[in-house]
């Protein structure tokens, strides 16, 4: 095509970019679209969990903690600062009690708020 060596060979594209919408997404003012199966924050289903703790064994960063609250009832406490959102615990769970949501806006000012009960 136009393979003559000349300076300013990007002229036509650069000039027409003024008339196109900019490619920037104004993130906090415009909501970010994430894909359908994006790995976000985890969700735990107490009715299905049987306390086998396979998720704790397989977690690469020791982020999830299963705590017994009553007989045959367990709750999960997740450290959001340690979780790497790999969803290995979802795969390892023998009862399908864990699943991931699309929630990713998880920042907090206070470190204590990052230990959440899911």
């Amino acid at each position: 095509m136009m393979n003559i060596v000349r300076p300013g060979s990007m002229l036509s594209q650069v000039f027409s970019s003024v008339f196109h919408k900019p490619a920037t997404r104004l993130y906090p003012y415009v909501k970010a679209e994430v894909a359908d199966r994006f790995r976000g924050k985890l969700k735990h289903d107490r009715t299905k969990c049987n306390g086998c703790m396979l998720c704790m064994k397989d977690c690469p960063s020791n982020a999830i903690n299963i705590v017994k609250v009553a007989d045959k009832e367990f709750k999960a406490v997740l450290s959001l600062d340690k979780c790497i959102f790999c969803a290995q615990c979802v795969d390892s769970c023998s009862r399908d009690a864990l699943e991931y949501t699309r929630d990713f806006e998880l920042a907090h000012f206070d470190r204590k708020n990052l230990q959440v009960e899911i």
Partner: protein, 403 residues
């Protein structure tokens, strides 16, 4: 003016990762250079020995942000070879597709970074805008924009549905059109060619002598590509070309990388259209039997090599990674000497350095005496030849096929 010593790094606007390049200048010419690495050492190999194979997968993936799937697949291939698992065809196809998408992502990122190093910010912004298309496709297929987490021992974790396949094909078509525009620009913009031509020259003999790998070597005419020479995954079923170039300088490396993008689009289209039906994983045991394996992979930067040794438990005994940047590193000093200071950032960027992948330390310890010694290249080579000779293995009977 005498000789001044200019430090580029560890912190410098030209470098994306810390490394120390001390340049000794006479006027604008570089008379000598001194290169040190090691700022990114994180003890990955030792950390792997303390974690199970399942946890190690995620750790190895995070060795590098841009070639994460390469490291992960290479490690998993070695583990599967030790465990003698037969990975289903569909899983191999999915791994190939993600691997080639990662290659596209890495080369577009490199194009932007190289343009920024020579002051051409428009090309930088345009190529990173197109990189967003690839990252959105990867997010749709695997769940995350970097560190995809799609491998598991015995296969992959996610499947590709018909709708995802259609969207991915459309994204590849849009990207191909933009890549053809970049090829045109690289061949016709005067200031770009003026900055990249005859810079960082590495002749064919020097590339062989200094063990360059990947696009750095292919731009000097060395016809080496692990995907064709030693096919892994499904590369023996997919037709593609290996791009070489004879410029032997940074312009050649740019042309090789941009043309490799077109080849990657061909591979992705073929793989998406011909993916066979079947399972996506086989069941794998938690305890991997004893054994050792060695696997190679063509990462976007060159040849990536992993070695895994298991001993029957669920934790590996030894994991060794050799990243491609370490192979290309010896050429940097050679290319910097005799050049201009203004060319130093682009010469460093032209080998596509990823110092996070590279920093491992090699130290050899005698098991009996407990003494540790650091060897240089020649004595290490001689040590390996003697070790093999003592076991009756004569290197002279082997013929290497090197083109």
């Amino acid at each position: 003016m005498g000789i001044i010593e200019i430090p580029i790094g560890p912190q410098h606007p030209a470098l994306k990762e810390p490394a120390s390049f001390k340049l000794y200048l006479e006027g604008e010419r570089i008379a000598a250079s001194n290169v040190t690495l090691g700022y990114n050492h994180r003890g990955v190999e030792k950390a792997c020995e303390a974690r199970t194979y399942i946890e190690d997968l995620y750790l190895i993936e995070r060795v590098c942000g841009i070639c994460s799937h390469s490291h992960s697949t290479c490690f998993i291939s070695a583990v599967e070879e030790v465990a003698k698992l037969e990975v289903p065809k569909r899983a191999k196809y999915i791994r190939t597709i993600i691997g080639e998408l990662e290659r596209v992502h890495s080369h577009l990122l490199w194009l932007g970074v190289a343009a920024h190093e020579i002051g051409f910010d428009t090309l930088f912004m345009y190529s990173w805008r197109d990189r967003e298309v690839v990252m959105d496709t990867l997010e749709m297929l695997s769940g995350n924009r970097v560190n995809y987490g799609i491998n598991k021992i015995g296969g992959v974790r996610r499947d590709i549905s018909e709708e995802q396949k259609e969207k991915a094909l459309k994204a590849v078509d849009a990207l191909e059109e933009r890549t053809k525009y970049y090829i045109e620009i690289v061949n016709s913009e005067t200031t770009l060619i003026g900055r990249l031509k005859d810079v960082g020259k590495l002749s064919y003999e020097d590339a062989m002598r200094l063990h360059a790998a990947g696009p750095t070597a292919r731009a000097s005419g060395v016809d080496r590509d692990v995907r064709r020479d030693d096919p892994y995954l499904v590369y023996d079923e997919i037709p593609f070309n290996v791009i070489t170039d004879n410029h032997c300088d940074v312009l050649g490396r740019t042309i090789v990388r941009v043309k490799e993008l077109i080849e990657s689009y061909k591979i992705i289209r073929f793989a998406l259209n011909n993916i066979p039906q079947g399972d996506i994983a086989v069941r794998s045991p938690r305890r991997i039997p004893a054994g050792e394996a060695f696997s190679r992979y063509e990462a976007p930067r060159g040849e990536d090599v992993h070695y895994v040794r298991g001993n029957g438990t669920d934790k590996p005994e030894r994991v060794k990674l050799r990243a491609p940047t370490l192979a290309n590193f010896a050429s940097i000093t050679y290319m910097l000497n005799g050049g201009y200071l203004a060319d130093a950032p682009i010469v460093i960027a032209a080998i596509d350095p990823c110092f996070s992948c590279t920093d491992r330390s090699i130290s050899i310890k005698h098991i009996d005496s407990g003494k540790e010694n650091i060897m240089d290249w020649e004595s290490l080579r001689q040590y390996s030849i003697d070790w093999h000779k003592n076991r009756g293995f004569n290197a002279k009977n082997i013929q290497l096929k090197v083109k």
